[in-house]
């Protein structure tokens, strides 16, 4: 049986050749079938290892200022809105002594050494602030009050180097809106409040647990045991122990 295909080809090449083509026909069709089958298999195709679509968090793209102060000397209690002078005209404030407040106790005054109400609020007219000479500063111009102490910051703010400007850079095209001090800073507790950071990049982080150092360094074989993270931020200048001589 094994020598069967050999004999006719040895004697008669032409018929054997024809028969070889005939034998190859299933091979050709099988080959084409395999081609088609692999082409049809979806699982073998390359899929980019991209993570799922991450939507932009809406709170992270909100342009609103961090504070929305009322630029009016009003106080809302329940459904009523009072002007400051409505109470303070009738009830004079006691002189400033080191005592526990009986009113406005929600205010936490953490403004450094500025611990006196009347450093900023006008003693007689509570609907205004007070300047260095005892004159009134209108309630809607709080930057003039802050400028009493924070001169360099006020100078920067006037020229736009400090503080937020929204809208237009080109005043011919539209109005730039420069935010005022208290739209970012709480006047009673002025440092800019910490906030939750928006999500970081989803890129792979080929870094050590220590989370420090150049990426390229860590792709090399790491020495064992791994170097512990530095104890204090001052020590991180040479995370790989190199470069001390440079």
């Amino acid at each position: 049986m094994e020598s069967d295909p050999r004999e006719p080809t040895a004697n008669q090449p032409a018929p054997g050749h024809v028969r070889g083509v005939a034998t190859a026909t299933p091979w050709i069709s099988a080959t084409l079938l395999v081609f088609a089958a692999v082409l049809g298999m979806g699982g073998w195709t390359y899929r980019p290892p991209a993570p799922a679509t991450v939507r932009v968090p809406a709170w992270a793209t909100d342009n609103a200022p961090v504070r929305r102060p009322r630029l009016q000397p009003t106080l809302t209690s329940g459904v009523y809105t009072y002007r400051c002078s409505d109470c303070h005209r009738i009830i004079p404030s006691p002189s400033e002594t080191d005592r526990t407040l009986t009113q406005h106790r929600e205010i936490e005054l953490r403004h450094g050494i500025n611990t006196r109400c009347f450093n900023c609020h006008h003693r007689e007219n509570r609907d205004a602030f007070v300047d260095d000479y005892g004159n009134e500063i209108p309630w809607n111009q709080p930057q003039l009050l802050c400028a009493k102490c924070h001169g360099t910051v006020y100078r920067d703010w006037q020229h736009g180097a400090h503080g937020r400007t929204n809208g237009f850079w080109d005043p011919r095209r539209g109005e730039p809106r420069r935010l005022r001090c208290i739209e970012c800073h709480d006047p009673h507790w002025p440092p800019f409040a910490p906030m939750v950071p928006a999500p970081g990049p989803a890129s792979p982080r080929p870094r050590l647990e220590a989370g420090r150092g150049h990426v390229g360094r860590e792709l090399r074989p790491a020495p064992t045991p791994l170097r512990p993270p530095p104890e204090s931020p001052r020590d991180v200048k040479r995370p790989d122990g190199k470069g001390g001589q440079q």
Binding site: T53, A60, P201
Partner: protein, 316 residues
């Protein structure tokens, strides 16, 4: 010869080899099955001229084609414009390192404004968390995720395209798909880019991003105000980068990253105007240029306040 032809072992081997070859060939060409209309350029797209060689009529036709394409792809009505650079304007960016708290609002506002791909993720701005007292970017971390920022032991340095006056990315482009406009913005013609990524390698600020896969943008988050050279949707295989939001800034508005910044650390304007904010900053504040030594002359300046960073410091 006749022996070889009729050898059963050889016959089987050849047959299986042919099948294996066919399988390999099929596997190699199988990605072609995923070609969609988006991936195959249309006739007019294929023969589109370089941006600088287009006549105004050509440009109008191209903008209309892009508008139709966006409508098909996102079912959204978009306006595609091509604002020219303004005369007597050179844009400069200032960033106050003393005030930045690393909240990453700018990163996400930028992604949304510029129709950047959400998956794979493309972000133009990288906020580096730096060790205080160090300017070594190699010890920085941009994956930081504390419950609250700022960390009092760190400072934050957002890095994006610096729109250099001597841009190395432009120099290396083999097809002139990227160039510097006269207002200083380095732009990319996404239809001319061949995706060689030379510019990505040349940039010392890691500012250029590559679309490794077809970019995905949620349809409801698409920004319909588009420009040819900035935030129109990109396709797979092209570079992109920050353009100072030229579709906004060339009509007088401020960039999206600046408008969202809660601290006001970001400053933008025309440096040729002596009354502008950035001109004041360059004249009066202490300014730091990232990698000044590489000689790229960036139009992006970091600056400081008098007493340095004050956040987190006790007020007593």
């Amino acid at each position: 010869m006749s022996d070889k032809r009729s050898d059963r072992r050889g016959f089987l081997a050849k047959g299986f080899a042919a099948m294996a070859g066919a399988a390999a060939a099929a596997a190699a060409v199988s990605p072609l099955r995923h070609l969609t209309g988006d991936s195959i350029p249309s006739w007019e797209e294929f023969f589109q001229k370089h941006y600088k060689e287009m006549t105004p009529e050509d440009k109008q036709a191209v903008l209309e084609r892009i508008r139709r394409h966006v409508e098909e792809r996102f079912q959204a009505r978009a306006t595609v414009s091509d604002p020219p650079p303004l005369d007597g304007v050179e844009f400069v960016y200032g960033l106050n390192l003393s005030r930045c708290i690393g909240c990453r609002r700018c990163v996400h506002a930028c992604v949304k404004e510029n129709n950047s791909s959400r998956s794979p993720e493309i972000q133009y701005i990288r906020v580096l968390q730096m060790e205080k007292g160090s300017i070594d970017v190699e010890t920085s971390d941009h994956h930081y995720a504390p419950p609250q920022v700022p960390d009092p032991d760190k400072y934050y340095m957002p890095v994006q395209c610096h729109q250099c006056a001597k841009p190395p990315c432009v120099k290396v482009c083999p097809v002139e798909a990227t160039w510097q406009e006269k207002d200083g913005i380095v732009v990319i013609d996404y239809d001319w880019c061949i995706g060689c990524r030379y510019c990505e390698a040349a940039c010392p600020y890691w500012a250029r991003r590559f679309n490794f896969a077809e970019p995905t943008i949620p349809k409801d988050e698409l920004n319909p105000r588009m420009a040819y050279l900035s935030n129109r949707p990109r396709s797979k295989g092209v570079m992109e980068k920050c353009t100072y939001c030229l579709h906004r800034t060339r009509v007088g508005r401020l960039p999206a990253c600046l408008e969202v910044c809660p601290t006001g650390s970001r400053k933008f304007g025309n440096v040729l105007d002596p009354a502008s904010e950035v001109a004041f900053i360059l004249k009066h504040k202490r300014v730091y240029v990232l990698k000044e030594d590489v000689g790229t002359l960036p139009r992006f300046f970091y600056y400081f306040d008098e007493r340095g960073s004050r956040y987190g410091e006790p007020l007593s």
